[in-house]
């Protein structure tokens, strides 16, 4: 085989591997993972390559600091979630060491440098967006904003968890997918 063909074959394989690795990893979580619901806020920004999405930010972003938390930088932590009476999950505990369980999720945590007395850390969740068709996204944003103004229940992020990994599968409004709600409103 000529060198050019070999280089081309390698590039072609890499072009398949990257998306397929993502597909395999996330399909596995969706198929075998535990479903969890978390309350969140969801405004509507834009990604130049991937289009419109709802920026999904779980409300719970500050939790008690685990013992031995480093002072600087972003640190991976393992959070165990627990469902409340309302069916929504919240962080029960945070560990600097990997822990296992069906509702464990790997997060990034930061202890703010300017607030060394603080007993809490900020956490970043491993999902931050829910892509929507460009026809639906503005209406979905409007719907979320209206509910916020009226003081009604915030949207809920439905995620699947497996081995600490999370895949955001839907954003729900009153238990129904925001996609379906917006489509129904449009009809």
């Amino acid at each position: 085989m000529k060198p050019a063909l070999a280089v081309f074959a390698l590039a072609a394989v890499a072009q398949w591997l990257l998306p397929l690795a993502g597909v395999w990893q996330h399909e596995r979580v969706i198929a075998r993972g535990t479903a969890v619901r978390i309350r969140c806020v969801a405004p509507d920004p834009y990604d130049p390559l991937r289009g419109r999405f709802l920026a999904v930010r779980p409300e719970e972003n500050q939790v008690p600091k685990p013992a031995g938390m480093p002072e600087r930088g972003d640190v991976p932590v393992w959070a165990t979630l627990e469902a409340g009476d309302d069916g929504l999950s919240r962080i029960k505990s945070l560990s600097l060491e990997p822990v296992s369980g069906p509702t464990v999720i790997r997060l990034m945590a930061r202890w703010q440098r300017w607030d060394q007395e603080s007993k809490t850390v900020f956490v970043a969740w491993p999902f931050d967006r829910f892509y929507l068709n460009e026809r639906l996204a503005p209406d979905a944003d409007k719907l979320v904003a209206e509910r916020f103004r009226e003081g009604r229940a915030r949207p809920v992020a439905e995620i699947r968890l497996l081995d600490g990994r999370a895949v955001l599968t839907d954003v729900l409004v009153d238990g129904t997918s925001i996609r379906d709600v917006v489509k129904q409103q449009a009809n």
Partner: protein, 436 residues
């Protein structure tokens, strides 16, 4: 001699050789001296690239429109199907080897690049994957650059260079906001990514050179990327490191043919020089001059600074041996802060350095003019323009009446135009004289 003259000469040589006007050896030496870059069907390549761009972006838009109506497996097939098809076409074009037309190589490479990007973006969209769009650009660049090598695609190379520069800038601008996660170190990654273009230019036989437009993109993106790395390395706006980066781009070594080319075909000299002169002009003011000298203090402990200094020093040595004194004179502007730093105290005013910069700029401009009059490759017009600009800046600052300023500007303008006419006549009088 312009490239048009080179091309005309190349067309005449076979007839002259046949008629015995030049010997075979003479013809060979003329061809070596007045090189003609292969055009490779430029119009065909542009048409191929534009066609591929339209097909690729159209495909992405059509697929994206129907998203919500398809189940996940259909969306997956739609995301990966075009990639498979474009890879098959590229394989076929590659198999044709030298028989493949430039537009075919260009179109196949660009469509496949777009299909690979679309597949990654759509999979990311299907699974609501987090992360900045520039992270996707990074991986897109990594898996696409081999297509520029094997299909010799200028369009993919240009897209790659723009992509890695955008990624490098994003690493700096996104820093400090929110969670950095496991971010990349652009000091390591940007030079590695930039080196990714080497298998295409100069290629394994060190003979391939980018076309004119590609050179401009290469120079501009390298400058932008290195500025981003300088800012990243210092973790703040790094005035002096930026100057050193511009000096490295300006001094980039050239072969004999490259040196002989006009300035318009050396965008790295033009852009690197312009960036350096612009920063030096800014440093003729007190506040920027003070910050510039301060930036030397926090740059010197950085490894990136010493690497840049070594590169600039090495390039300067090569330039000196090649007699490129005009570029050396301009590159010297980056050394001033280093020399001025030990003389400046912690809370010293920036005026001494600002005044030194005014004089160094004047000396640089005079050197650009003098080098040309000494029969070397100089840049007399640029030197004159620099002196004019300096005088205008100082006059604008001066506490004199508007009438005096107006008269001074008229005198400067007349002097500048007169000098240009003089240089034009002088060059016309010199057969094959040096270019500016």
């Amino acid at each position: 001699m312009s490239l048009l003259h080179h091309r005309w000469l190349a067309e005449q040589i076979p007839a002259w050789e046949q008629e015995g006007i030049v010997t075979a050896d003479g013809a060979r030496r003329l061809r070596e001296r007045y090189v003609v870059e292969p055009q490779g069907g430029l119009a065909q390549m542009v048409v191929g690239a534009v066609g591929a761009l339209l097909i690729g972006t159209g495909l992405i838009a059509v697929l994206a429109y129907n998203w919500d109506d398809f189940p996940r497996w259909v969306r997956m097939a739609l995301a990966l199907g075009p990639l498979a098809a474009s890879q098959a076409v590229s394989w076929w074009v590659l198999g044709k080897d030298e028989a493949a037309k430039p537009w075919q190589r260009e179109a196949a490479a660009l469509v496949q690049t777009l299909a690979a990007g679309a597949a990654m973006a759509l999979v990311s969209q299907i699974y609501n994957l987090p992360g900045k769009w520039t992270d996707l650009v990074f991986w897109w660049c990594v898996v696409s650059v081999p297509l520029a090598w094997v299909l010799r695609s200028q369009a993919v190379a240009i897209a790659y260079l723009i992509g890695i520069a955008v990624w490098a800038v994003a690493q700096v601008t996104g820093r400090g906001f929110g969670f950095s996660g496991e971010g990349a170190d652009v000091r390591l990654w940007y030079p590695l990514l930039l080196a990714g273009i080497l298998p295409l230019w100069p290629g394994p036989e060190l003979r391939e050179r980018p076309a004119s437009g590609s050179r401009l993109v290469l120079a501009a993106t390298a400058l932008l990327g290195l500025f981003a790395v300088a800012t990243f390395a210092a973790d703040r706006p790094a005035f002096w490191l930026t100057m050193l980066s511009a000096a490295a781009v300006l001094l980039f070594p050239l072969d004999r043919h490259g040196i002989a080319e006009p300035l318009a075909r050396k965008p790295q000299v033009l852009l690197g020089g312009l960036a350096l002169v612009a920063m030096a002009l800014v440093a003729t003011y007190e506040d920027p001059a003070r910050h510039l000298v301060k930036s030397v203090g926090f740059a010197l402990p950085l490894g990136w600074c010493w690497l840049l200094l070594a590169v600039v020093g090495g390039f300067a040595l090569v330039a000196f041996r090649q007699g490129r004194f005009a570029v050396l004179a301009v590159a010297g502007l980056a050394v001033v802060p280093l020399l001025a730093a030990p003389l400046s105290g912690k809370d010293t005013s920036g005026w001494p350095v600002a005044i030194i910069y005014s004089f160094v700029l004047l000396a640089t401009a005079s050197a650009l003019i003098a080098i040309e009059f000494l029969g070397r490759q100089g840049a007399a017009r640029i030197g004159a323009a620099l002196i004019t600009l300096l005088v205008i800046l100082r006059m604008a600052d001066a506490d004199v009446s508007l009438l005096v300023k107006g008269l001074a500007f008229i005198v400067i303008g007349v002097g500048f135009l007169g000098f240009n006419i003089f240089i034009s006549r002088r060059r016309a009088a010199l057969p094959g004289g040096p270019s500016a």
